[in-house]
């Protein structure tokens, strides 16, 4: 008897009717002889409703209490799903993050899982119960409620699958898999049957919003096969797996798996920093202390033995980052701090590009043909990213999708 962890997102659980549909789906798997653990998100709109309540009181709600508030969203769904399962004669039991217990650090609003204790759950599963766990939440060592940040339910699912050595962690969502790029931008984008963890990591971090990046990291690290599939449509979805497995199978030889993009970032440039050891740390130390995540980082040689330093942060952190930097600018001896939050990032991702020269030049050529100016470039083994003005986002994605021949074969 194999154990399957299934995670259902907010849209999949967005109404009582949908919760009943999910219950039927879960029972179907259970009846086929699997042990089933379900991880649920809040009903779609619920987390936003709760945030709005808090924001109705103050724009900066106390982080501990915000987590107490938000954690109720998943608690409601897990109870409703169990009620729907019990109604159909199944024995089901719900667990909050604290009840499991999913132990996290104390970084409210973006906590990280440290450990999972689940003797109770394991014995529930062994006696044939369907276990339903609230995603997105945990408790710290003092028993304070924490949340893992938006999309954290995926992380919960994968972490539980890893801890229980599940056969597969299925992420049910409103799309039927991972596509070569966003079909809303490129209508003939193609669903991938498989993708490697490395590629998926680059896709996720770059804004293909299907999966939360931390959950993919976690799954890769702990050898949890991850499958993205649709709640509403039958189909195999996309299996996220390891390169070796891909190589050992007869499959299409691909250079580029997909094109990711992201308009949630903002770019910040510090001009004329004295070029001496430690400047990167001087600049990014205070940013990191403020718990702001930095994505791309570029340093160029500037004029007069100074360096120009550019990096990107989430657009929501833009103002605060500028504030922090301006406090530190004089101390650093930098000439100027400037920024731009009307940017977008496009990335080519593909395990195949490792062994192929020429992908970068082909990419830059395709963008040049459309007269799109490139503002920043970074590269990694399996990814090339460029920052362009936000207004060129869709045009750029379509140009690259065509240049690399990613469309449906039909």
């Amino acid at each position: 008897m194999s154990l399957i962890v299934q995670k259902y997102g907010g849209t999949s659980l967005g109404s009582l009717e949908r919760i009943e549909e999910v219950a039927k789906k879960v029972i179907g798997w259970h009846e086929r002889g699997h042990q089933i653990m379900v991880v649920v998100s809040a009903m779609s709109g619920e987390t936003d409703r709760l945030v709005k309540l808090a924001r109705g009181i103050t724009f900066r709600p106390n982080p501990r209490e915000l987590d107490v508030l938000l954690a109720t969203g998943e608690q409601v769904t897990m109870a409703l799903l169990c009620i729907a399962l019990e109604k159909r004669g199944c024995t089901a039991r719900s667990y909050t993050g604290g009840q499991v217990r999913i132990l996290t650090d104390s970084s409210f609003n973006k906590a990280r899982i440290r450990d999972i204790q689940m003797d109770a759950i394991r014995s529930d599963l062994d006696t044939g119960l369907i276990v339903v766990v609230a995603g997105f939440q945990g408790v710290d060592e003092e028993g304070n409620i924490t949340t893992l940040g938006r999309g954290g339910s995926d992380t919960t699912g994968v972490a539980l699958a890893a801890a229980l050595k599940a056969k597969e962690c299925q992420i049910y969502t409103d799309v039927d898999g991972i596509y070569t790029t966003d079909p809303r931008v490129v209508p003939d984008a193609r669903r991938l049957n498989r993708i490697t963890f490395e590629e998926m990591l680059e896709m996720a971090s770059l804004g293909s919003k299907v999966l939360q990046i931390r959950s993919v990291e976690f799954a890769g690290k702990h050898n949890v096969p991850l499958r993205v599939l649709s709640t509403f449509k039958e189909g195999p979805g996309t299996l996220i797996t390891f390169e070796e497995e891909l190589v050992s199978e007869p499959m299409e030889k691909v250079l580029i798996s997909g094109i990711a993009f992201n308009r949630d970032e903002a770019k910040i440039t510090i001009l004329g920093v004295p070029d001496r050891p430690g400047i990167a740390f001087n600049i990014l130390g205070p940013i990191s202390d403020a718990n702001i995540e930095v994505d791309m980082i570029i340093q160029n040689v500037g004029r007069d033995n100074t360096a120009d330093f550019t990096f990107t942060v989430h657009r929501n952190d833009y103002e605060r980052t500028l504030e922090i930097l301006r406090e530190h600018t004089s101390r650093m001896g930098a000439r100027e701090v400037s920024g731009d939050n009307k940017i977008a990032k496009l990335s080519l991702v593909g395990i195949g590009m490792r062994s192929h020269a020429g992908v970068a030049s082909q990419m830059f050529q395709a963008l040049a043909k459309e007269m799109i100016n490139i503002r920043m470039i970074t590269t990694s083994e399996i990814k090339i990213s460029v920052v362009v003005d936000e207004k060129y986002l869709e045009l750029g994605v379509r140009a690259l999708h065509e240049a690399f021949d990613l469309a449906k074969s039909s």
Copy 2:
């Protein structure tokens, strides 16, 4: 420095504006040098909304999961109140029933508090924090979430006040105290400055919906002075205290404190039960096993060595009670089971009636004058209750209020 426990009901916390008002009120008490612990209910309408969600799936939701669902209501309010307190520069900290921890038995939907562990809370209070606790909920020994049943937040407040030996437990609500009867029925009903626990118990159990009966019992048993007062209107409210304290003070000599009434009951009669030892147990045993609470019980001698047995239950339990009894009727050898759920109960309550004969006859005379037929009578030391047809409820209350001269002196 004295500790005050304040409990705010759902109406008092019914909107963000009201939550902010409560925050101000709490801070006012805190600034006057008191240690403050606040117990909150769910925002008004929230519990109903959650119940409706569960009922949208099935009419009989799994009791454990219903509690998981309902417990989110108070968790939302406690977080919002803390956010409002923190916004004003106060240090506040919220606790769910499980976090406190408020240990209950495992009777889901109507659990009873067994023990309260609260070292963390006491040290919070000692360092000047305002502690906010979710009312209505606890956990059983296995860590399952339980709820105390409707109105259970009062019980939480009193239990915490008792455990912390608080100076006073203040129950904030939308009325400014306990009245001689419901002012909606008798417009010149009068607010009582004080009332004894015994009287209040009779008033509460008979349906004066201001306080939950268990909380009054609990307060009386643990010597917690209880004060009912309005969230929206300044004033001393009504202090619920002990008879000795009343006697030692110069105060109005009262015969009758108030008139309670209740239309939530239904009456069930079993005719022709063989009159032998154990019949009451035979009848009520199965009812009690089904966790149905019985209020009034009357047994009369019937015809042919049989007895007639009548009792009342909550109107919601009416159908189920009939069902259970019909299963057992033949075994008991009873002739007939019948019932009526269109009844109302009126009760005169007053510590003064102990030493006064004639209260009962004065009561029956007042009802007779209005041609109201009495269907059942029970009496206790400080209370006389009658059951009448529901349609006579208001008329009966007004007749008694006048007969015992309870109106405002003005």
